[in-house]
Amino acid sequence: MTLLKYAYYPGCASQEITKEANSSTRLVADKLGIQLHNMPKANCCGAGLLTDYDYDLYITLNARIFAEAEEMGMDILTICSTCLMVMSRAAFDLKNKPELLDKTNEVLAKAGLHYSGNVKVKHLLWVLANDLGIAKLASMVTKPLGPLKAAPFYGCHSLRPSDALGFDDPERPWSLEAVLKALGAEVVDYTGKTKCCGFQVDLVTEDTAIEMTGTRLLDAKTMGAECIVTPCPFCHINLDNYQSAAEKQLGAEIELPVFHLAQMVGLALGFSASDLGMSRHLVSAEKILRR
């Protein structure tokens, strides 16, 4: 098998806020034999906000990230869906518009950098589902998660825009389900799993954000979910931190622990809840973990 090694781009959120996602990913990757190499120079992708500010600035700053990965000779692995979407859109534009690549390189040259246009951006989820492979993953599970009923929550950015991302199907996604099944969990299907968690407007129109979060959680709960698993730290922030606010706003009890993808994998690989930083969540997972 080819060596799995990636330029690791955890994203700002997982470095500063959802630190448990970052540390769990490192534990899990190590166990699975996936090499993660640090990118000490990498700047923030902009989370979409740089795109709002100035398209050229956004493209060039993302090209700077790609240039570092290119120097390392690896594809990028991120654990943040928003980073994935933002970087993939930039990579897609740079690949398909040669004039844009030239223009961007002119600016990069001022900083002594160059990007040739061939870096691929991947999510941990894709690496598990594809590069490592479902069968291999399943074979390494030591503590199957059954009979845990887990609801996958993709959110928006791990699936759309599908042309720039080029992985999975936004209408009938399979990767997260396949990974969860490999871990021995029972997958719960529900309507909101590919919709928005509301994070992008948390600080702009907070009520909207809370209502979105609550709707997704209730959807999953109604279908019998005992917990939610998401590949995106921003979705995690909303689903976890805003859960009590959502309970109030919607007048319903929810109490659904939310896990990062890497934490779920970690549990099935035999790591403990404290190894995986579960105490950092606002909604306690203790009840379902004790079983």
């Binding site: 979407m85 928006c156 209408e171 600080l203």
Partner: protein
């Protein structure tokens, strides 16, 4: 090949139709048959009371958008056999975020009203500049900037899928904003600044939650989100920053310039202003207890931050130069 369909029926004027229900039909599908052709054959041969909109049958009139297996598509540009193979079912429903009038027909009035709100026409200067006698030519490059937004056929697919509209009915929505960009981005337009002011108000450009659904489901490649991003950039350039959205963006831009990455605490503060930030304290405290509140001072700077700053300076210089050049 036989395909079973389930179609959502509703007719408020009849006793049986007052509550929406799903009706089963079955058709003989031939290769290349579209969902619209299936609907037309049902209406012609099985059930003439089934109502849906259609006209051109070639994805240009924008009448036939419906939900096909849960996602909004043009019935006339979706082939039934591959779609059925993928979804293993064929459930047809009216588009979302609109009031259903009958069966697959929805009320488009709010859609048109929102379009009206963005004043979907060019507003050239009231008096022509001295010496201008001929029509104004628009260069290929200038046309390219708004080209995607011109392709809209007003089918409503984007509004149907829009996650922000689902929660906030007053939001202008992707279709109207794409149209707004078509004019704001036009070099012949003079009312741009005024428009941007209005668009930055409540339920305008800053309501979008960046869910990317509009990009995914537009059958014409309009990319309304891209249009919204451009409108936001223009609004900020024009100095229209007295709103949470723009402040949020500026905080991010400064934060990346300063440390190379996001500093969430600074963003919360700058976006919401002091008052809101105080209001957020309970939430902040809760995060703090779980070690989640990032500390702005502890933010490690990325390596080679000077490269980032060089890029900022260079882009700024380029933008300035571009502005100096005369229009058109």
């Amino acid at each position: 090949m036989k395909i079973d369909l389930k179609i959502r029926r509703f007719n408020p004027t009849t006793k049986n139709g007052r509550e929406p229900y799903y009706q089963a039909y079955s058709i003989e599908a031939s290769e290349g048959m579209t969902v619209l052709e299936a609907l037309m054959s049902i209406a012609a041969a099985q059930d003439p009371t089934l109502s849906f909109r259609r006209s051109c049958r070639s994805s240009i009139c924008g009448s036939c958008a419906i939900k096909i297996n849960g996602f909004t598509k043009l019935a006339c540009s979706t082939q039934i056999i591959p779609e059925h193979e993928k979804a293993h079912e064929m459930v047809l429903e009216p588009i979302a975020n609109h009031t259903v009038l009958k069966d697959l027909i929805v009320d488009f009035d709010p859609f048109w009203k929102k379009l009206d709100k963005v004043k979907p026409y060019l507003m050239p200067p009231e008096t022509q500049p001295e010496g201008r006698t001929k029509e104004v030519h628009i260069s290929e490059k200038d046309a390219e900037a708004i080209d995607h937004a011109q392709k809209c056929i007003m089918c409503g697919s984007c509004n149907s899928e829009c996650n922000a509209l689902e929660i906030e009915k007053k939001y202008l929505g992707p279709a109207a904003l794409a149209k707004a960009w078509r004019f704001v981005g036009d070099v012949r337009e003079e009312g741009g600044r005024k428009r941007l002011g209005r668009l930055s108000d409540d339920h305008g450009i800053w309501d979008c939650v960046r869910c990317v659904h509009c990009v995914e489901y537009c059958p014409k490649g309009v990319e309304p989100l891209t249009a919204i991003e451009r409108l936001r950039s223009r609004a900020i350039q024009e100095g229209i920053k007295d709103n949470h959205g723009a402040k949020h963006v500026e905080a991010m831009v400064n934060s990346v310039k300063k440390v190379g990455r996001l500093d969430e605490a600074a963003m919360t503060f700058k976006t919401l202003g002091l008052l809101r930030s105080l209001g957020m304290i309970p939430f902040g405290l809760k995060m703090e207890m779980h070690g989640k509140m990032p500390h702005p001072h502890l933010f490690p700077q990325i390596k080679k931050i000077d490269e980032v700053r060089t890029i900022y300076a260079e882009i700024k210089r380029k933008n300035k130069n571009a502005k100096k050049k005369p229009k058109g």
